[in-house]
Amino acid sequence: MNKRDIENTLTVFKREFLAYFNSPVLYVIVVIFLLASQGFAFFFSRILDSDDVSLATRFFVWHPWIYTVLAPAVGMRLWSEEHRLGTIELLMTMPVSPWQAILGKFFAAAFVWAIGLGLTFTIAMTVGYLGDPDSGPIISGYVASYLYAMACLAVTSAISAFTRSQVVCFIISVAFCLVIALIGDPGITQAIVNAVPNGFEWLVRFVSYFSFMDHFFEMTKGIFVLRDVLYFISVIAAALLVTDLGLRSKRA
């Protein structure tokens, strides 16, 4: 990392974030996210009626499903829009390395989520007012939630590198995030294990190991394990690598 890397990444970040800021996307997404995350916690999980002030089972538990739909909605424009407008040709003939652009754009979308997730601080204050919760699980829950959102976003970034259509990118990304969430569900894993021929059980278990879910729930329980953090970071890194591959294939 030299000065130029940071400057260029920042320039791309600034442009991309202003594009979110100047369009309705940022506001719509943040408002829907707040409504959904708080609504589910209060109305479905009835967080106020329970004696239990843990956010893990009543608040964070909904996040993967919300991110499955909303993270692709934020990320779908990242590269699809560049392809559609043709500005990718400008960007890639500037003295900017693909990585500076990929990171700048990814961080801009990540910042949108930081705003959305940050604004849910009221629920942490609510449980703090009503009870006496441990701050550990709340912090690790937020970290887990944010990492989950980033993983979905990185996957969307990778898919958007391959298509000029935001709609196509959105649908494929949602499907991908949905599958990767579902394969971790014990009930679904068991159902698939029952359905496959004998001897393939290990394969199903192996695939389900790659689900975001296990790692997510471990973390929201307050068990802050480096392994789970590293898992999410490697998913993000891998998805950004695929983004680079996608951009290369378009220019090949």
Partner: protein
Amino acid sequence: MIQVKNLRKEFGSKVAVDDVSFKVEKGEVLGFLGPNGAGKSTTMRMVTGYFRPTSGSVSLGGIDMLDEPEKAKQILGYLPENAPLYSDMTVASFLGFCAELRGIHGAARTKAIDRVLDLCFLDKVRNQSVDTLSKGYRHRTCFAQSIIHDPEVLILDEPTDGLDPNQKHEVRGMIKRMGQNKAIIFSTHILEEVDAACSRAMIIDRGKVVADGTPEQLRKIVPGCNSLDEVFRSITRSETAKKGE
């Protein structure tokens, strides 16, 4: 300044550019002529480092495009076909973004923006959203972007496309003036532009260079032809005829 050696580009089994070599020195304006689909844009995209050549090499100012792309792109200005722009930005903020990516910051950035706004007659629309611009303004905004850092190498893909006759005249004049201390390549369908702006012209047909010389030399290539127009048609048409055999 620009050195292209044995450039070749294949898309699948289709050969888009086949063994193209040329040099452009400082002070030269090279006109790129050829029918649609001849490989002009593909060649330019390889020279600018957007496409990776299947084989061959490109160097700008002695810097190899494949080895040190970021360094080579530093001295390059490029106007892509159809003048793409970020539709959510204003003219000034778009130019500011491009200046920053070129490493121009602070007061120098403001100065660079003002300079190109003035050069490309964009003062009136500086704070207007790119979305609301007419085609001529969009084109000039993208052109402004390509010269914001006063590059030594300038590559323009159909810079006069979609402009009205006055604007065309203005842009040609600008290319000619800038050509005195830069190396410029521009592609065009309009043959009068070759006389108006170029010191040299190259005709490309189906991926190959079929003629290269000053406009005067080109006129003499085919006996009996007096205008570039006739030369162009006889060279590129005879190629098409061969294909039909």
